[in-house]
């Protein structure tokens, strides 16, 4: 837990050219307004967006929109002075985040328009395509530190594959993003063509928490409070990890890489212990698995660090990191959202220089290949 800080920043807390430059695996750019998309969206879908907007699967009105804890779930200091929502102004993002924190690469994760959860699959695909183009035109091409992701909605598998092909030809995207809240668990066969293509193209699959599916975010139903729902990010992706491993995705696609984004990592040890333990007992139910679940996890899955867990005792965080594996963790800030992690202060446990280098840079560079 923190102590009172009554001092100017020490030299080693200030980013400087000689210090480690970081790779931030979760940076959220935002549309300034829907009009941003016009240049990338056919007239037919511009009209649709205007007249019908999103068609999502949530059962209640207003379960999706913001504010959630903070207007637009954003840091209060992240509203650009030029107007527009947090994350919508590149110059301000550079000044507030990329430059001072010495971000060498930032991977873009777009959440606007609940892109993965659109029920109208054609509309969803049009929006995904527009957003994929927008990421390059307004972000990556204007600041080469920022790397784009191919966003696809996996429930329209054929549409998703077409979009993956289109973007892969352009050759500038570092991963394919799918939703953790699709119609069915991620391990299901219906999604395998996407995994097959990702493996062939050697692109990792990024899975960012959140989004809205037709299912309650907890196994027990719909939560009453945001703080209650926020917990469910961890168990939603724990369930998806189990689905992918146990349905045999890594067994079937031995070169495939998955990155779970914004789910933290505190839940991993017990989820994996349990899978291993049950695997010993129920092997004959899943003979397609040739190895223990933990082995698949340790070879195919990476986890971004935010929101980092903060146990009262620093050594508990330390054991957690060691158990999950220094090689499995990729630093992420979640800028500009309210639960942003500052790379200088987020790890409240000592890390050696070599460990820092891995978590803040080289692990991500190896996964994403830059």
């Amino acid at each position: 837990m923190s102590e009172v800080i009554d001092r100017p920043l020490r030299e080693d807390e200030k980013p400087a050219a000689s210090r480690l430059r970081i790779v931030d695996c979760d940076v959220h750019p935002s549309l300034h307004s829907f009009d941003d998309l016009n240049e990338f969206l056919p007239k037919r879908w511009q009209q649709h967006l205007k007249e019908y907007g999103s068609h999502l699967r949530t059962p209640y009105l207003f379960t999706t929109p913001y504010p959630r804890s903070s207007p637009l779930i954003a840091r209060r200091d992240a509203w650009p002075p030029t107007g527009g929502p947090p994350g919508s102004d590149l110059a301000f993002m550079q000044k507030q985040h990329l430059d001072p924190l010495d971000v060498e690469f930032g991977i873009l994760q777009v959440l606007d328009l609940f892109i993965f959860s659109q029920q109208n699959l054609e509309f969803g695909a049009a929006i995904q395509r527009a957003i994929n183009d927008w990421q390059l035109a307004l972000w990556s091409h204007r600041d080469p530190r920022l790397k784009a992701s191919i966003l696809v909605g996996q429930d329209g598998v054929d549409l998703a594959i077409a979009e993956i092909e289109r973007c892969a030809k352009i050759g500038e995207y570092v991963q394919i993003n799918v939703s953790p809240r699709a119609n069915e668990p991620l391990g299901r066969r219906r999604y395998w063509p996407i995994y097959e293509r990702a493996q062939e193209l050697d692109l990792p699959l990024g899975i960012h928490v959140g989004g809205y599916g037709g299912h309650a975010p907890t196994g027990g139903g719909w939560p009453s409070y945001y703080v209650e729902e926020h917990q469910s990010n961890a168990h939603t992706i724990a369930a998806q990890l189990a689905s992918l491993v146990i349905e045999g995705v890594p067994e079937r696609f031995p070169k495939l890489k998955f990155v779970f984004i914004e789910g933290g990592f505190g839940w991993i040890p017990s989820a994996v212990w349990r899978m291993d333990q049950h695997f010993e007992r129920f092997r004959s139910e899943v003979p397609h698995l040739k190895r223990k679940p933990s082995e698949y996890v340790r070879e195919h899955f990476w986890f971004t660090t935010q929101p980092i867990d903060e146990p009262d005792e620093a050594r508990h965080l330390r054991s957690l990191i060691e158990w999950v594996g220094i090689d499995r963790l990729l630093f992420s800030s979640d800028y500009p959202h309210w639960d942003f992690d500052d790379p200088r202060f987020a790890f409240k446990t000592p890390l050696t220089d070599a460990e820092r280098r891995k978590i803040f840079s080289t692990n991500a560079r190896a996964v994403y290949k830059f």
Binding site: V4, I5, R75, R76, D77
Partner: protein, 137 residues
């Protein structure tokens, strides 16, 4: 401890704040309901700039469904993760003994009084007819 003149009272409107550099420290002075409070401009959690914090009320609930607001404007909610602090002493709401923001004594004095003592004016000339916020560091 030296006393530093950091602002004239009229410079910080009610509900507003001013960031000042005093002896190398980044300090933020808030004006709440006619009172002034000075705190280190840095959240003890991950270092967020407190000048962007929300000045909120204390919200308590004796039982589900019953909500009470008190001390309106005197609680500071960090702009990042929303930890709450008591503006009067910098104590955190959830663990007041262990987690606090450094706070500094503040006084408001008239310009004519200031002529007499040993003060350090930070940035501007002092006029005897105005009132000033003094922070002790």
């Amino acid at each position: 401890m030296a006393r530093h003149i950091v602002a004239s009272t009229s410079e910080i409107p009610p509900g507003g704040n001013k960031v000042v550099d005093v002896a190398g420290r980044d300090i933020v002075v808030f004006h709440v309901n006619g009172e002034f409070f000075a705190l280190l401009n840095r959240c003890p959690h991950e270092g967020a700039p407190l000048e962007k914090a929300a000045c909120v009320a204390r919200l308590t609930s004796p039982e589900p469904g019953i909500y009470q607001r008190s001390r309106v404007g005197e609680m500071l909610r960090c702009p990042w993760h929303g930890w709450e602090f008591d503006m009067r002493n910098g104590q955190s709401w959830f663990d007041p003994k262990r987690v606090k923001i450094r706070s500094y004594p503040v006084a408001v004095e008239r310009g004519e009084e200031l002529q007499k003592g040993l003060y350090v004016a930070e940035t501007f000339p002092v006029h005897v007819e105005d009132s000033y916020v003094i922070v002790e560091v």
